[in-house]
Symmetry: C2
Subunit: 429 residues, 2 copies
């Protein structure tokens, strides 16, 4: 079950692991106190990269798919977390409306898993679709022979539901990359989770990593360590038109500056790695248009080759905002494939995780691409509970606890981020 970890067994990451394990009660208490002040996202998945010399989240998904990649053993944990979440939001709720994306049957297995989790947590779950083409209940066959039923949404002036189905909570499993649908606006009588401004039509990665930096600094202070060990540095540029070449100067300058900063850090820690940065759209693109750059001079060349690729984001528009992020190589491998851990959370609880692996990609490349596969990992199995006495670096359980901590730091950052970007925040203040 536990893949062989080839993470370097020496260096800063083991000191970090040791410090995190020793501080377990303090860390858990710190999270408790943070959650007293901040509301966790309803559910979150976080891609983590372990470079041996640093460990960092590289992507925080607020509409996680892939729940079907978690092991069966984690289901009770997910159900218990879902119960805790519902209790706080809408304890009297009978009905949950789930709005999935329009994707392939592999994705539908994820939807089926979500239906299972929330049914077991005590809700009647039905599926509504944003697709206007669906005008009556439609049966969607699943690979395992079962089926899901997708129904057209019914909107009244103040509420959203289905035929004979009035939910207390509407759960989006749709990242709204295509824009904010009118039908989801002004639903002040119901809970719409995650909120609209968590969708990629509005959300920006740079806001998230700005919040993450704040969280990483706080956490690093708690543990008495350099925040860089868990924080990927970043910069961002607005209004870059890849097809016209406009705004490329900003990218060039920032790539340069970031590479210098990384070089200084590597020197400080005696890290032999060649620094690189990752340039990607500041809003979500399901892993598309992610470019690895090792030298600012590469950018011109890379630009020529990738102009077309990056120019077309999901909704067909030119990428207009760009985030430049410190590249964190992943030194985890399963067999010969490069792998990165993905941590899943419901409410404030880690409920599982898996390894995303890609046999044809390098350690400094994006793995969220066609050809990737998944190895379920019971992060939360008891055999993976932290074992404080063990030597750092040699215990998979301890490593998984550390990944769960980093995943939760990114989730906390998402909570900060959503508070800071809430368009209705002033109403409540």
């Amino acid at each position: 079950m536990v893949p062989h970890l080839v993470t370097a067994l020496t260096g800063p990451i083991n000191e970090l692991e040791q410090r995190i394990l020793e501080s377990m009660p303090a860390i858990e208490r710190w999270f408790r106190l943070e959650w007293m002040e901040h509301t966790p996202p309803f559910y979150t998945s976080v891609d983590v990269r372990n470079a041996g010399y640093k460990l960092a989240p590289v992507d925080t998904n607020l509409f996680p798919g892939g729940f079907n990649n978690l092991t069966e053993e984690m289901l009770p944990l997910a159900i218990q977390a879902a119960m805790a979440a519902i209790e706080k939001i809408c304890p009297e709720a009978k009905n949950l409306l789930l709005i999935p994306e329009k994707r392939d049957s592999f994705y539908l297995m994820n939807v089926q898993r979500l239906v299972q989790i929330f049914s077991n947590a005590g809700l009647n779950v039905r599926l509504g679709t944003l697709d206007d083409a669906v005008t009556e209940p439609t049966r969607l066959p699943l690979p395992d022979g079962s089926a899901l039923t997708l129904e057209p949404l019914q909107r009244t002036p103040r509420r959203l539901g289905l035929k004979d189905f009035d939910p207390c909570t509407i759960l989006l499993n749709n990242d709204l990359s295509a824009g904010l649908p009118k039908i989801l606006e002004n639903l002040h009588e119901q809970y719409l989770l995650p909120p609209l401004h968590a969708g990629w039509a509005v959300r920006r990665k740079s806001n998230h990593f700005h919040s993450y930096e704040e969280v990483a600094k706080k956490f690093a202070k708690l543990l008495g360590m350099d925040p860089w060990l868990i924080n990927p540095m970043y910069a961002h540029c607005g209004k870059v038109d890849w097809s016209e070449g406009a705004g490329l100067e900003c990218v060039q300058t920032n790539v340069d500056a970031l590479l210098s900063k990384i070089r200084r850090k590597h020197k400080e820690y005696g890290i032999g790695e060649k620094p690189f940065v990752v340039v990607k759209a500041d809003n979500g693109t399901h892993g598309r248009g992610v470019v690895t750059i090792r030298d600012a001079k590469d950018l011109e060349e890379v630009n020529r080759r990738t102009r077309e690729r990056m120019g077309a984001s999901k909704d067909g528009q030119a990428v207009s905002e760009v985030i430049i992020q410190e590249g964190v190589p992943t030194y985890e491998r399963i067999h010969d494939a490069v792998a990165e851990p993905v941590v899943y959370m419901i409410d404030r609880y880690v409920v599982g995780g898996f390894y995303r692996m890609h046999a044809e990609r390098g350690i400094d490349e994006n793995l969220n691409a066609p050809g990737s596969s998944f190895v379920p990992l019971a992060f939360a199995e008891s055999s993976h509970l932290p074992r404080p006495g063990e030597k750092p670096g040699v215990s998979a359980p301890n490593r998984f606890y550390m990944y769960g901590v980093i995943g939760r730091l990114a989730m906390l950052a998402a909570s900060y981020e959503l508070e800071a970007t809430d368009p209705e925040a002033e109403i409540y203040e």
Copy 2:
């Protein structure tokens, strides 16, 4: 892992199972609403008996031992539930003081498991003892080679702690059969859990089953069924002196009346079983002094034989109050041993369970006796999640879901009971 269930595959219990499965979201919602009004006990274990024709809790323990009998796989679930519990009670807490009983090393394994659960949930856990003989930190070796340290309590006028250790919460794993220790009184600045009136020095089984009857009626109404299917009938007698024979008349009358009531119910359902009742002390005696009676005439004879046995309760005093309870035979068997499921809960969540089995006892006898052993049962493993489509009676997972529901009904009854018997209730009203 899953023992072979020999429970009759036909009859009322399967109708009950079917109804419970069909009503899963409604049941979970009903519990949610109940927990909005009532506070669950901190932790609870419930002995359940499945007679094929009825399913009932027979004992509700508010200071559960035996956490070490749960499978390793359930630990993450227990930790998550413990986190949820702490969050509500004392989110800022750093320290938890655990007060165990003075028992054998098998019991210490339970204490060790509790320490593990609450450490992982983010607390510094230390052990304090009510034993005055312990005047300095004392190392208690465990069968697995590790050790626990027991420390003397330090009381100040308003708080209880250990040397250099001031806890927010004091968790009792000591049922206080021996009486209420002065040192635990008037701790209004700290959370003492469970509260003193949950200890057997004060608590009465008859109060619990009075509350359980109320809960069972509510639940039966929700499901549209006869509450008797999940409720063991009972009566109680105060001031019975077994050594003097005083108060035996009350017992005799009630045994007679209860046997008649059971006979009527058996006739109504066409049950061929010979009715029996169980006579036991109205406060806890760790399973001692439990007598099975099939006929009121037996009582005189039984009395002669058991006078001595029942006369000596844990603290050496004569049993003075008695509960007479409808006997629920257990038709579960593991190999050839009679078995009964035990459900474990932390806060409002089922975190696991096991089978208590006893090769030398009959289906109508108390199994909580020397010679019993345990088969851990992952009630909460995903392979044991309810599967609504399956035929009643043939699916172990569905049966375990049902046991979890009954366990939670008994826990809810304990919550009602503790509210009704709270000596300080008027202060808060």
